[in-house]
């Protein structure tokens, strides 16, 4: 038989709690409000970005058959799509991270669990965002290594 | 022994208790002891409204209100008290509004008012709109608003502390005319902490009783399970008299079998009562105002129909409240609670089917006698310094023999406020009365007797039988025989109560034990009520003796005062009841002469 949770008072049956319990660390500032607002706004923007992305990639022209290395390279040659994909990356990552953050807040019962889960989450987020950003801006469709053109159908033969 | 010291201790956190606490808490160190949580108190069940002659919607003045109150109480009202209440009603309502109570509003933004039974303009000429209300949950809003203000003023509450004893010491004193007497003085109270099962003594300069009524002596009652007459019982056991206990109001329209109240407003909106033959029987009992006759008259008519075999249901034990001829939209707008109660509890759809109803025990007019400053009286005119009472537990007496609708909410606010101020002011001038030696002794004895006894009788069984006999014999119709029957039964119950068993032997939240304690109070209260009823050989307001159907001002225009007195034996008592001494107290008249009570 599992016991019924008893917040603030430790284990079941530990007797009366102190009449003046304190809510741990009240927050100043508007972080939670801004996070809440960000979730809604980023959600709307992401709908546009993602469906735009899917439409261009999968439906326009030859649709899915057109996707290859060259297609991606072609898109990222255009600053418009660079910005589009960058926005998508950042918003999706932050939106998702914030979502997981609230889930951790809601479901983790101990402060230490909560702390370490968030450390892992934020680390993963940071790595992915940095890597992704680097990929978008440092992408070179025709890399030349030691004077040799790397294989790929997109670049004209030297 | 755990002793707490406060200037003022308030027993009970309903309307009267919290109204007192708001005043007292700002003036003196105050503790409020309640057997529930404050917001659970039964003030919250009141629906209709709170009367005050604000004259927001039509001409009105407090003097008319005074008259209505006195006439409604069949002239057994202390007229000075009724004047105080009607006059201070206006401030009481405005105080509540300023505390934040969300009254319904007129189009001009003032507090709206509506009609209510027995409230009239110019001494009975026509109904007047006097009741200030917040939808159909005025009592709920009063209770919440008072609690909110207690939070605001940081009132100290001891929740789930059952007060089980009043600590009183007696001193020798001499009256002005030279006769010696025993002056009672209050030292504090003893309470039982439900959570831990420990006793706590609260030493206080002033004690305010605001612990509510005793409706659970009856089976069919609108009262909460927790209204067991504790406050009255504690005071009575310590030698404080109880005034006018024979007067108990039966509200005509309680849901049959359950007692849950359907407001008088229902009949105000056009609902009518019918018997099993479909007849609108009130036409026979009150040909002019029919279903809108005063509560006591309607209740008697209903009981009479059932008694003569025209009741409805499998046991033919109720009549019907018919709303089916009214517009559903109208009912839904004006009486949402009624429709919800009928649907939830009886599964009756009030738009299409009549609702089973029967009179339900509603309000104790009597209680601990006080003067208009809420000081408790130990006899007809000697106060007990530092002891106060307000609300249903008290008898000022503003309700006389029949309380007017809405006057209970007024009572708790007007006299609750007075009690809070008086108690705090007294505590500034007074010293603590020394606690008697071993103050917990009586309470400990009471509890251990119940806990350690190895009896065979069940509390619930005795209580049920008590409630059954009270419903059968002490309800709207009373005769010498029926009352003697009750007293006989109570004698047997008291014997069985000595042999009662409490199954729960633990210390934590032992509600089983407290139900046993409460049964003791119920037995005491039932007995006092019945003895009073037996003594009063007349019919007045809520008290109707079939063997004496008329009001008898000659002999009974006076309050009854019941004292616990072990020197009274069966032989020495006119009512042949040992242990209770009945005396009388004159009614205070100011300007209204008793007249026949006609509407």
């Amino acid at each position: 038989m599992t016991t019924i949770q008893s917040p603030r008072s430790g284990n079941i049956g530990s007797g009366k709690i102190a009449p003046k319990y304190t809510r741990t660390g009240g927050s100043k500032g508007n972080f939670e409000m801004l996070a809440w607002l960000f979730m809604r706004l980023s959600g709307i923007v992401l709908v546009v970005l993602i469906f735009g992305h899917l439409f261009v990639n999968l439906l326009v022209g030859e649709g899915i058959h057109a996707i290859d290395f060259g297609f991606v390279a072609g898109k990222w040659a255009d600053p418009f799509w660079q910005i589009w994909d960058l926005a998508m990356l950042w918003l999706a990552m932050l939106h998702g991270t914030n979502g997981v953050r609230t889930i951790i807040n809601d479901y983790a019962e101990k402060d230490s669990t909560r702390f370490w889960l968030k450390v892992v989450l934020y680390a993963a987020t940071t790595v992915i965002i940095i890597l992704g950003t680097l990929v978008i801006f440092t992408f070179n469709p025709c890399p030349v290594v030691d004077g040799v053109q790397l294989p790929g159908g997109f670049c004209p033969a030297p | 022994m755990q002793v707490h010291k406060y200037d003022v201790v308030i027993v009970g956190a309903g309307g009267a208790g919290m109204r007192a606490a708001i005043e007292s808490g700002q003036r003196a160190r105050t503790a409020v002891l309640t057997k529930l949580y404050p917001t659970r108190s039964h003030t919250g069940a009141a629906q209709g409204g709170m009367c005050a002659a604000l004259a927001n919607v039509e001409e009105d003045n407090w003097e008319w209100h005074t008259f209505d109150t006195i006439k409604g109480g069949d002239y057994l009202v202390d007229q000075d008290a009724a004047e105080v209440m009607a006059k201070e009603a206006i401030d009481a309502v405005l105080d509540l509004e300023k505390m934040g109570l969300p009254f319904n509003r007129t189009p001009e933004g003032r507090i709206d008012q509506r009609r209510f039974g027995g409230h009239t303009r110019d001494h009975g000429k026509a109904p007047v709109r006097r009741a200030c209300y917040a939808a159909d949950r005025t009592g709920h809003m009063i209770l919440q608003t008072l609690y909110q203000n207690c939070v605001k003023h940081n009132v100290e509450f001891y929740n789930e502390y059952y007060v089980l004893d009043l600590l009183i010491v007696e001193e020798d004193a001499v009256r002005e005319d030279g006769t010696p007497y025993k002056q009672k003085r209050v030292a504090g109270v003893v309470s039982y902490d439900l959570a831990s099962g420990e006793l706590h003594v609260f030493q206080a300069k002033s004690v305010v009783f605001a612990s509510g009524g005793a409706g659970k002596v009856f089976k069919t009652t609108s009262n909460a399970h927790t209204l067991t007459g504790d406050g009255m019982g504690i005071a009575f056991r310590r030698g404080i008299p109880l005034e006018d206990m024979e007067f108990f109001q039966f509200h005509p329209t309680g849901l049959a079998g359950l007692g849950i109240l359907l407001t008088e407003g229902a009949r105000g909106e056009g609902a009518i009562l019918r018997n099993s033959e479909g007849e609108r029987f009130m036409e026979r009992y009150a040909p002019t105002i029919k279903d809108l006759a005063p509560r006591d008259i309607v209740a008697r008519a209903m009981a009479n129909e059932v008694r003569e075999g025209r009741g409805c249901g499998p046991d033919k034990d109720y009549v019907l409240l018919d709303l089916t001829h009214l517009e559903p939209a109208h009912i839904e707008a004006k009486l949402p609670d009624i429709t919800e109660f009928a649907r939830t509890y009886l599964g009756v759809e009030p738009f299409t089917d009549p609702v089973p109803v029967f009179p339900t025990a509603h309000y104790a007019m009597g209680g601990i006698p006080t003067n208009i400053t809420t000081e408790v009286l130990q006899d007809n005119d000697t106060i007990v310094p530092g002891l106060y009472a307000a609300g249903e537990v008290a008898c000022v007496s503003v309700h006389g023999s029949n309380r007017l609708g809405t006057n209970s909410l007024l009572d708790i606010n007007v006299f609750g406020k007075r009690a809070g101020i008086a108690a705090a002011e007294y505590s500034k001038t007074a010293d603590f009365v020394e606690l008697p030696e071993d103050p917990e002794a009586m309470t400990r004895g009471l509890l251990s007797g119940l806990l350690e006894g190895n009896g065979t009788e069940r509390v619930a069984q005795i209580r049920k039988e008590l409630q059954d006999t009270m419903d059968a014999n002490m309800q709207v119709f009373r005769t010498k025989e029926s009352l003697e029957q009750v007293l006989n039964d109570i004698e047997k119950f008291e014997e069985r109560y000595k042999n009662v068993t409490v199954q729960d032997k633990g210390k934590r939240f032992n509600l089983d034990l407290l139900e046993a304690v409460e049964l003791g109070f119920l037995l005491d209260m039932a007995k006092v009520m019945t003895v009073g009823a037996l003594h009063r050989e007349e019919s007045r307001g809520g008290h109707y003796r079939e063997d004496f159907p008329d009001r008898d001002d000659e002999k009974f225009m006076k309050h009854s005062m019941a004292y616990l007195d072990s020197s009274v034996t069966v032989g020495s008592s006119a009512e042949s009841v040992a242990g209770i001494r009945l005396e009388t107290k004159p009614v205070v008249f100011t300007r209204y002469e008793p007249m026949e009570r006609k509407y």
Binding site: R8, P19, D106 | L36, A45, V151, Q461, Q503, R508, F509
Partner: protein, 260 residues
């Protein structure tokens, strides 16, 4: 303006079903009560009671029957017994309800009816929980009228519309059914909870009150309204029919409107 209502008939034919003779149906139930008494054992357990109940009996009647006739140690709070005092909120068949407002016949009586204490508050004994954390949250939102202006000699004026604005949230009876139905509250009990927000709402939207900003600031806390996940458990649990989730949403909007 009043149209005089037609006087109802002096006598009508009543259908046999209302005039009487109908039998009161009885049925058998199994009441499965979660028992816990630290004086006896640290472990909670389930006790089953087989009972015969009548037509319109409620869960509270069944509990009373157990306490009064079978086992006096079964402990629960109750007072008014008709849904206005808020003492007997409990989990009945997994949902938060008032025992005095839940009719047995509306439940599936072929299976045991489970009765547990409300979740998220420390259990003291059987169905009794410690309400102090709940009331502490209530107190923290300053649930009382704060008015900075002059006290008028008569009442403060308020239009019918302004009064209507917060009507829904004045119905709260502080039974804790909403707060203890909230999954966010279950986790660590730090969240203010729906009931506290409802009572803040009652004053934030009261035109007579001047401290709305302070309450909004309190509820802008990390344990405040932003923890609401709009699962609607609270609205469903409320025995008074308050639109709790909507009230919380209105408070969120008010905070946003104030900041932006």
């Amino acid at each position: 303006m009043t149209t005089e209502m037609a006087e109802p008939a002096s006598k009508i034919e009543l259908p046999a079903s209302v005039a009487g003779d109908g039998e009161i149906p009885t049925f058998h139930i199994t009441l499965r009560v979660r028992r816990y008494d630290p004086e006896v054992s640290e472990e909670a357990r389930w006790d089953d009671y087989k009972l015969t109940m009548y037509g319109t009996d409620r869960v509270l009647d069944a509990l009373h029957k157990v306490k009064w006739e079978i086992d006096g140690s079964v402990s629960f709070r109750r007072s008014c017994a008709h849904g206005v005092c808020g003492s007997d909120a409990m989990r009945i068949n997994g949902r938060n309800r008032l025992a005095c407002k839940t009719l047995l016949k509306d439940l599936d009586t072929t299976k045991p009816i489970t009765v547990e204490p409300i979740k998220g508050l420390p259990v003291e004994k059987d169905l009794i929980v410690d309400m102090e954390p709940f009331f502490q949250s209530f107190r923290e939102v300053m649930p009382f009228l704060i008015n900075k202006g002059h006290e008028p000699t008569k009442e403060r004026l308020q239009s019918v519309e302004d009064r209507e604005r917060f009507d829904d949230t004045t119905k709260c009876i502080l039974c804790a059914a909403c707060t203890s139905s909230c999954p966010v509250f279950w986790t660590d009990g730090q969240y203010f909870g729906p009931a506290a927000i409802v009572n803040a709402h009652r004053f934030i939207f009261d035109s007579r009150d001047d401290a709305g900003d302070m309450r909004l600031e309190i509820l802008n806390d990390k344990e405040g309204v932003w923890r609401c996940r709009t699962t609607f458990n609270c609205s469903e649990a409320c025995p008074r029919g308050i639109q709790v989730t909507q009230a919380i949403a209105e408070v969120k909007q008010a905070i946003l409107a104030r900041k932006i």
